[in-house]
Amino acid sequence: MIKIEKLHKSYPIGKDSLHVLKGLDLHIKEGEFVSIMGSSGSGKSTLLNIVGLLDGHDEGNYYLNGQKIENLDEKKAAILRNKFLGFVFQSFNLITYKTAVENIALPLYYQGMGRKERQKIAMQYLDKVGLKDRANHLPSELSGGEKQRVAVARALATKPKVILADEPTGALDSKTSHAVMELLKEINREGMTVFVITHEEDIAEQTDRIVRLKDGVIISDEKVNKSVNV
């Protein structure tokens, strides 16, 4: 599903440049539940941005769903994002003046789906995350956990191939964190590839595979012993 070969990325800082990713190789198959671990500055957010087509890479190859990603203009990137990727952010990133159901329907709007159908699908996903009764609430009227569940529903609405979650529990307490992780696990059990970025050990341990990043290189890539969780 996601295949990365010798990926390099550097950011210019003034006259110098900061080499953030130093030749990553990573292969994530369909249906995997992977977490990227690393402290801040390890390059994990940069990796997510590149994988999420929010940023380009300098060197190496990146295949998404078998398609080689290169020379993307913004329009193509937008279409691919809409088609293949669903985002869940640490700060939820819901549109503040839209209700829960409108937020979920937004990516469908950009797919060109009709209003009624959009509304119907959005309600289905809202029901799936257990917030059907909150459909017409604005994000400011929802709790942190509820906001993140709306964000997950929004990520799912377009039936993407991969869910990219950037510190999905970073702004939540342990109880709601748990609920959100349970939701992600459930989505994964239904066959969705889920890609989580975190710096919290206990969050990473709930995934199937942990990739540890340090200073722009992968230092370990191991399967979590399933029996621990079961």
């Binding site: 929010l54 913004e74 937008a78 994002r81 700060s91 950009y110 797919q111």
Partner: protein, 414 residues
């Protein structure tokens, strides 16, 4: 262009506008003010122009008034300070000697009390020929102006201004055929006209009687009070003025360079000055109007730029969710077009209301400062469309800014 008719496009715009009331309000006020000012300015300028047209409109524009004064130079044995009087014979000389004349109309003028029953007033009394009606158009309400028959038979008839009717007659009384008494002589009223704006001889209005009657009643012999001379369109009225005065100096044995012996008032020159003033004022109005519009356009651009800055994150989210750059641009531009159109319409409406208010308060009656202030609808619509188009072009800048920020940077913004 399908998206223009897509309900969803407008739903998006509507919700974005409705949920950002402050921003919407400021944009609308800015644009509305620009259009409002333009409408009121143009209307006011038109009102002033109408006012001038009303003042001069009933005069032939290439006219000059000539009257006799006193000599200021000794000549042919006469001391300076000799009083001069225009004669009827001068008219004939002028008519035969000067080229390019349309009319030469002699007039007499005095002031007297006019009485009707128990009502009276002091008015300007004029001795006139029928030709006056051609030089200074009389807008007759009832009856007629003086005719040749009145002149030939020295009839005791008079034509009155509406103002005099108001003072001497009861309301709703038909004045034609009534008699009013001036200096103990009864004159039959044969006509009434709407008051003009200039050329008023009396403090409270004008009464016109036949020239010949005036000569006889006031014992003026063959003298002429003053004369109105109208030139043909293709002749220069200033040249006619100079020629007439030179001829008069010659006829009356006055020093050829004695400029003060005969006075004159060149209406043509005055009107040319006023026309120049009006042209200048229109230029100023347009200049201010267009400057205001440009300021309005920049205001829109500025607000949109702030808006985009404020919405960076939202735009980032939308793009992460799969909005194409063009879709983002389109929404920003449509929002601006929608807002400016609404604001422009409101500006036109309010401007129109203010003009109506001006019209209702100071826009009518003889003392009106502005007469019938109006703006041409096409002009206003062109202005509004210009504003919208320029606003959109300016709106392209923030729209471009919005999509040039990488979504990842936009999302980082807190």
């Amino acid at each position: 262009m399908n998206f223009l008719f897509d309900k969803d496009t407008w739903q998006e715009i509507y919700s974005s506008i409705r949920k950002n009331k402050m921003r919407t309000g400021i944009t609308i006020i800015g644009v509305m003010w620009g259009i409002f000012l333009l409408v009121v300015l143009l209307g006011a300028a038109k009102g002033v122009e109408n006012n001038f047209n009303k003042l001069f409109g009933n005069f032939a524009t290439n006219s000059v008034f000539v009257w006799a004064q006193q000599t200021s130079k000794p000549f042919k044995g006469f001391q300076e300070g000799k009083s001069l009087t225009l004669k009827v014979s001068d008219l004939e000389s002028i008519k035969s000697e000067i080229k390019g004349l349309e009319f030469v109309v002699p007039r007499h003028q005095t002031q007297a009390m006019a009485i009707n029953d128990f009502k009276s007033g002091t008015f300007g009394i004029f001795g006139d020929y029928p030709e006056l009606d051609k030089v200074q158009k009389k807008d007759m309400v009832y009856g007629r102006f003086i005719n040749d028959n009145d002149i030939n038979q020295k009839k005791k008839v008079c034509v009155i201004e509406e103002e005099i009717y108001k003072q001497l007659f009861d309301k709703d009384v038909y004045p034609i055929g009534a008699y009013i008494k001036i200096n103990d002589i009864n004159y039959k009223v044969v006509g009434m006209y709407k008051e003009g704006q200039i050329g008023s001889g009396g403090p409270q209005g004008n009464i016109h009687i036949p020239f010949t009657t005036f000569q006889q009643v006031y014992n003026r012999g063959d003298s002429v009070g003053w004369m109105m001379i109208t030139g043909k369109m293709e002749y220069d009225i200033s040249q006619i003025e100079a020629d007439v005065k030179l001829l008069l100096r010659n006829l009356h044995k006055v020093h050829p360079n004695d400029e003060r012996a005969f006075g004159s008032f060149n209406l043509g020159e005055r009107i040319a000055q006023v026309t120049g003033f009006l042209t200048g004022m229109q230029f100023l109005t347009w200049f201010v109007g267009i400057a205001t519009l440009i300021a309005g356009v920049f205001a829109i651009g500025n607000i949109l730029l702030i808006t985009v800055k404020e919405r960076t994150k939202e735009i980032g989210i939308r793009r992460a969710l799969g909005a194409k750059p063009w879709e983002i641009k389109r929404q920003i531009i449509l929002e601006s077009v929608f807002l400016t159109s609404i604001a422009g319409a409101l500006g036109i409406i309010f401007g129109g209301l203010v003009l109506m208010l001006i019209d209702a308060t100071i826009g009518s009656g003889p003392d009106a400062a502005l007469t019938n202030p109006t703006v041409d609808i096409p002009v206003v619509i062109i202005a509004a469309v210009t504003l919208v188009v320029l606003g959109t072009l300016i709106g392209l800048i923030p729209a471009h800014t919005a999509v040039s920020i990488r979504p990842i940077e936009a999302l980082r913004e807190e």
